[in-house]
Amino acid sequence: MEGKKEEKKPKNRVKMREQDPLTRARNFNEVPYGYTPFDAVEEASRCLSCKRPTCREGCPVEVDIPGFISLIKERKFLEACYKVKGKNALPAVCGRVCPQEIQCESLCILGKKGEPVAIGNLERFVADYEAEKGEIKVPEKPKPTGRKVVIIGSGPGGLTCAADLAKSGHQVTLFEALQKPGGVLIYGIPEFRLPKVIVEREVEYIKKLGVELILDAVIGKLYTVDELLNDKGYDACFIATGAGLPIFMGILGENLNGIYSANEFLTRANLMKAYLFPEYDTPIKRGKKVAVFGGGNVAMDSARVALRLGAERVYLIYRRSEAEMPARKAEVHHAYEEGIEFLLLTNPTRFIDDGKGNVCGVECIKMELGEPDESGRRRPVPIKGSEFQIEIDIAIPALGTRANPLLTKTMPDLKLNKRGYIVAEEETGMTSKLGVFAGGDIVTGAATVILAMGAGKKAARAINEYLKWKYWDFKS
């Protein structure tokens, strides 16, 4: 490492060191180790400090990317972190789970000829540096506006909106249905990709901004939105309840024991810490041969958790080819490295019962790619007579989610689309119901952490305006 100092600016980005694939496949520790200060300065020095930085346009939460990178170059790491936090209350989270390759980094000018600046790695570095130094700076409390805002759901969208509104001086209450705050950051994304202490740290920061957090509160059951607005005195509401009901495949045998929705499998493992059973009380089945169905990040996470729970073989079964996989390339790569076996262009047709109600196998059919469908991806078509069986003891469909109607069905005056998601203006989150804004997966369907954060940010801005003028002009 030290020898590198003599070299000129490296053309390639500074790699982040990672746990060895075969070691990490058996533990829940974080995969990459993070940059050292030396790595960070070296990587930051690759940034050209463009006069018209395009990277910023790729950030849904408007982080001053060249600004914070310049501060890293000057070794002002804490200042760099404060710069990021001016816009993004969850930098340690975003530095780890944002798909930078299709956002800020995709617009970096260096990417045209080589590798773009590792903006995500640098963001992670400054956030971790601040936490390690214990110098968490909380901005001065603004003058209270006397306005009250309620936010439903403490996932990335809700947390971002809460932070921005608190910084504007509003009194913010954040309701969470589960026993821990963070939404998908806690129940969904596994420890080895996003350590839970990091989520807890960033939530603590948001609480320090003055946000009141109420856990175990299922809105729609405990209170309706109308009760919150009319009886509890909230002036506005932001709904960020996230992705909803897991989709099953509708094939024979899907309710056999040993078949988990990815949501259930990950919730048991992550939120409930079932991987520590019996230290923790929540059990999880540890399969020897596990099949995960789907090609998104959730499928990759499920497969990699199954491996860490001790599976001998983990199959990732996806009906299209690798090119169509919606998962981040880095996650697919990590999964490959760890020994996940990819069965592409393959679709399950039925599950096989061991005679006692447990799954013991899955029958699949080979697929080939036909004409493009409405998503623009080539539609997979089954190849007749190509059925085959695989022996498994755990199956995990990770095929996405549908809208959860638990809250929306208590709001007959809220306009939903035909799939049950809330209709909200993209730039403001404004809905058909006066004073109610919405954003994130409950509006768009399952998407990413950063898009939910972007929606939270836009909604916070719109709520600020609304609280000033009480003007409501919903066109949709």
Partner: protein
Amino acid sequence: MFKILKKKELSDVVTLFEIDAKDIARKVQPGNFFVLKIHEQGERIPLTIADFDREKGTLTTVFQKVGKTTYHLGTLNEGVFIMDIIGPLGIPSHIENYGKVVCIGGGVGIAPVYPIARALKEAGNIIISIIGARTKNLIFWKEKMRNVSDELIVTTDDGSYGRKAVVTIPLDELLREDKDIKLVIAIGPAIMMKFVCRTTAKYNVKTIVSLNSIMVDATGMCGACRVEVGGETKFACVDGPEFDGHKVDFDQLMKRQQMYLDEEKIALERYREKYGIK
């Protein structure tokens, strides 16, 4: 944090708690349930709501010690706090004046049937209740059930109390003799609900059951509680817990309830060892 205000041992394995939970008590309806997690390392388990008092802001639950969590819960005393209580969950019972209704509670299922029977009685129904258990000391709330019923039948499998029978025997007699019975509501072990439904199907009497599936979040997110009802996969937590019993695949429900038998055994043995309980 939720304080246990009152504890009563209804038998050596059945315990009653009255819990301070003002916000939930304000909204709870008969047929709802709640989820509880005792402490940081605990699991989330669904429990039935046996009663509630909106003015005092309390929930009453009755549970049987079967696994580690319920054994541990049973050791908690008045004044102790439970870390997490989430509710009210599930769709409340549909209450209307049907005419004549049979309410069946088996074992700890007597508890959740009570507020439903009371609400149906208040709505003007004639209530015939059947409460049953394996043996005498598992029967509780006989007087409470009598107070909301026009007729009460008590059965035990071993004949140690009331009539020596399973609940389906007096149910069959009632249905045979009385053609005015419009609805049967049954809550208890899955096997009991299965045979109640088999009995009522013979007489074509609508039957509502409340399913006690394994749950995690209990808000529709995970699907652990899924069960086939009328050939469709339903989630007991948000689509239920009450369903048309004639459409429920009870055999599947029972298999799914047993998914973690091995793990439950490990957890309970470990707990007993740790605290020297036999």
